[in-house]
Point group: C2
Chain length 217, copies 2
């Protein structure tokens, strides 16, 4: 007897990523996966976005950290629902963890769920969470050689937020070089220069986010 | 027949870590593994250390990056030998890669080899390279919550260099909190506050390094 195997065999992560895609479609939810080095400002970008868009976009957050619930506390203080995942050593979130967290969130009241991945510019980009888009954050103090040195992460995203531009006066950082290196890897990536601390440049990021909402409405 | 298995079965990485330990002992070489987030200043710390200690400590460097040889170019420009390893996507250096690189370096002319690991505050700490000590770099812009959020890396090191203290005037960072969190995880860790850009505080780091040389002479 010959058995034909036409079904693609999916890994456990891919199976849960598929479940997450179905969940997001059923609930008409947008979902962005935020990836960056530790300390580039992902949580501050989220808290400011939650505050500034509170009348325009209903936001929920899934927080990934190796340890502590510091970030989900900050998200809740800004007025949004947050579910904390502590990975206990793992260097990235898995689709299964995100599936569990999606089912804890009050998604009926949300337009978008942000997944703040573990701070790591390498591993998270290799794991599909079933998200609808990816945002990479690169902060000025990290240096302008990072897209060339970590190409995989910058090649697979929709947006790069260049954060902490308020520190440009104190540091050497060539934004033209970074933009050129990102576009060599990823011609379609949108690049926004922002300071989540001062608010400078955040409007362009908000316009991009709200534009996605119109498309899914 | 009963076969007694008293020999510990080592992983491939552990086997090469053992080979590296033997290599370092035979050549009377010190070896420090530098671990940090991307952009915390590892290479700048090394180039300044090479320049400032050129008459006191003979330094070689093994550079780990996912892509590019930018960092080994900077090390050579500072006057030291460097071997670049491009991991092509891997998130940490392996002991086997370090074994290969040790055998490329002119170690007869060296007191110490620094291994600058891939920029990643999570994965490198889980891989023994056979090094004689570990140095973790944390820079001010990354934020003072990082030891608590990435405990594994800070628990397993000999030194923490708090770098970019020249930016303290522009950022909120509680050094007392960081020191307390590090010492909770790792009571014996030495903590030095430095700016590799301005040179401030580097003397204490140099004293620590030269003290190790005296012990191995």
């Amino acid at each position: 007897m010959k058995v034909s195997l036409n079904t693609k065999i999916l890994s456990k992560n891919e199976q849960f990523a598929e479940q997450n895609r179905r969940f997001l479609a059923e609930h008409k939810l947008d979902c962005l996966n935020l990836i960056s080095s530790p300390g580039s400002g992902k949580t501050t970008i989220l808290t400011r976005t939650i505050t500034d868009l509170k009348d325009k976009l209903r936001i929920g957050v899934i927080e990934g950290d190796i340890k502590t619930d510091y970030d989900s506390q900050r998200i809740r203080a800004a007025g949004a629902s947050a579910i904390q995942i502590e990975t206990e050593g793992a260097c990235h979130l898995s689709a299964q963890q995100v599936y569990w967290a999606l089912n804890q969130l009050p998604v009926g009241d949300m337009d978008i769920v942000f997944v703040e991945n573990v701070g790591n510019l390498v591993c998270p980009s290799a794991f599909d969470l079933g998200e609808r888009g990816r945002v990479v954050v690169l902060s000025i103090p990290e240096g302008d050689d990072k897209p060339a040195k970590y190409p995989g992460t910058f090649a697979q995203c929709d947006v790069v937020l260049i954060n902490k531009i308020d520190l440009l006066a104190h540091l050497s950082f060539n934004i033209d070089r970074v933009s050129a290196d990102i576009h060599t890897l990823n011609p379609k990536a949108c690049i926004f220069q922002v300071s989540a601390t001062t608010g400078k440049g955040m409007g362009d990021w908000y316009d991009w986010l709200l534009g996605r909402k119109k498309k899914t409405d």
